[in-house]
Symmetry: C2
Subunit: 342 residues, 2 copies
Amino acid sequence: MKIVVDAMGGDFAPKVNVDGAIDALREFEDLEIILAGPQALIEETIGAYADAGALASVRGRLSVVHAPEVISTEEHPVMALRRKKESTFVVGMDIVRRGEAQAFVSAGSTGALMAGAMFKIGRIKGVARPALATLLPVPGRPMLLVDAGANVDCKPDWIVQFGMMGSAYMRRVMKVENPQVGLLNIGVEAAKGNEQAQKTYEQMAKPQPFAFAGNIEARDALAGRCDVLAADGFVGNVLLKNTEGVISMLFGLLKGGLMSSGKGKVAALLAKDTFRDLKKSFDSTEVGGAPLLGVEGAVIKAHGNSNARAIFCAIRQARQVVAGGVVDLIREEVARLSVSGE
Amino acid sequence: MKIVVDAMGGDFAPKVNVDGAIDALREFEDLEIILAGPQALIEETIGAYADAGALASVRGRLSVVHAPEVISTEEHPVMALRRKKESTFVVGMDIVRRGEAQAFVSAGSTGALMAGAMFKIGRIKGVARPALATLLPVPGRPMLLVDAGANVDCKPDWIVQFGMMGSAYMRRVMKVENPQVGLLNIGVEAAKGNEQAQKTYEQMAKPQPFAFAGNIEARDALAGRCDVLAADGFVGNVLLKNTEGVISMLFGLLKGGLMSSGKGKVAALLAKDTFRDLKKSFDSTEVGGAPLLGVEGAVIKAHGNSNARAIFCAIRQARQVVAGGVVDLIREEVARLSVSGE
């Protein structure tokens, strides 16, 4: 299996990208990695890997493809992709498009990743809109939010497809046997919500190649009621970002409150393990990045602030998507959906 | 000033409603309260008030209007309002409509409250849709979310009005001098978001009778960036309910984590004050209920699980809305809005 890694994406590129890639090669012997980036810089970074012996043992499965241009997160994705033909995105995704690799991993611009995947790698036939999926930190039952922000003003049929694609991912990557797909809404009854939600509910309640768990209220979004939460990308993004914001605010307030008194400081010391475990359960590093579902390859968006471990995890995740045949499953099931044709 | 209180709304009616009303009369000497409910039951409940002397001193400002019917939260609001002419909602709101009272407070059905306010009390001329507003627990800077769930599929003009009405409330009730009105969106740039958000941004950026603070991302919704957060009611409700859900989940996880070890239990004991303060800062009791903005009277929705203190606070809040002339201010400013006419 071959995976292309954008060596220049993210805040700590290329060091953590290269390190994470080599770590992945050491862990998975079936893996070959192509690093996309400025040849000389990447070769030099490879040479600086901490464990020279380990590097030598995997060096044969690691190659570099020259991609001297970088697309920043500030650039307009589509224009940048057009102008920068030698960017890591264009060069890397062309390799996937030609079938010379099965996956593309980047911690760079989300917009460029999505647009590039659409135009370079291409949609799976029948998929209206590829969607970004994110695992939400539901205690004991990780839940995949689809769409987490790639598409706004979604038609009901697109959201039905998001549910199907999320179900395919959870089955094949997270090994959930019969994933329950919920619809994000403001009430549990079928008639609740805006026009989009009501129509989507109607469609989802028809026989589908996934199990429909009904409407899920935002209050219960993290309550472990379903395995996939299908949503319009605007609303999904609000849910995702708000969840992150509230968690970080609460930890901040708690810390501030405890540190303001002697008793609190002792409490903080004694509760260190609990706080660490709790924080860890919300740490997105281990679950990898956000898969872009609906394109003809495994495409993973790693966090912009990824360290080497996060890049490693995103590569591991890409490998699971490929090994699990998620793309094939989506290709098969898209035809089995009951949709309104909107 | 006269306020009608629905004596039968909420989980602990009529006891807490009656107690809260009497407490408010003891606190505010300019206040008269009309309790709407089954006459005999309410009189009996009044008689059972704990402090007979205090009750006697305010009894002259307390009256009961006979409203033997109750609309439950399970009933269809509009149908129930039509059928139950003697319900606390219909009887109570008719009093406000006739100008015999200035405010209506209920801990009962949100749907009946909104529909009743629309049809019985009536919209302020020029207001497209009354909106439900909720103060979010932003540390140090309470922020009013408008709309918190009354309207879905909002037109941009409605959302501009939500911002104006929220600003009027924050000026006159919360005494914020120049309230900053933000627009809930998935990015800060003007061109971000769905069609609705983009068009609303365009409108809000024109000269308006309120200060526009630009787009606010969901991640920063509780970060104290603005005083009013204007949003479509579907998205606003998702944000509100998700915030409540995440906070309650985190407290639950924290408690569970600490209680699972001896060290943790000691830490929990030492951190008791911090936890209590933190929980209190998210307690909605003290801020009162959710005002329904845009109708010809002060209408406050108190929580369904209100205790006497929460009812007292909701009445205090209704009094502030009336004393602050919020309805008059909205009536004046609605004509000054730059809208597209959509």
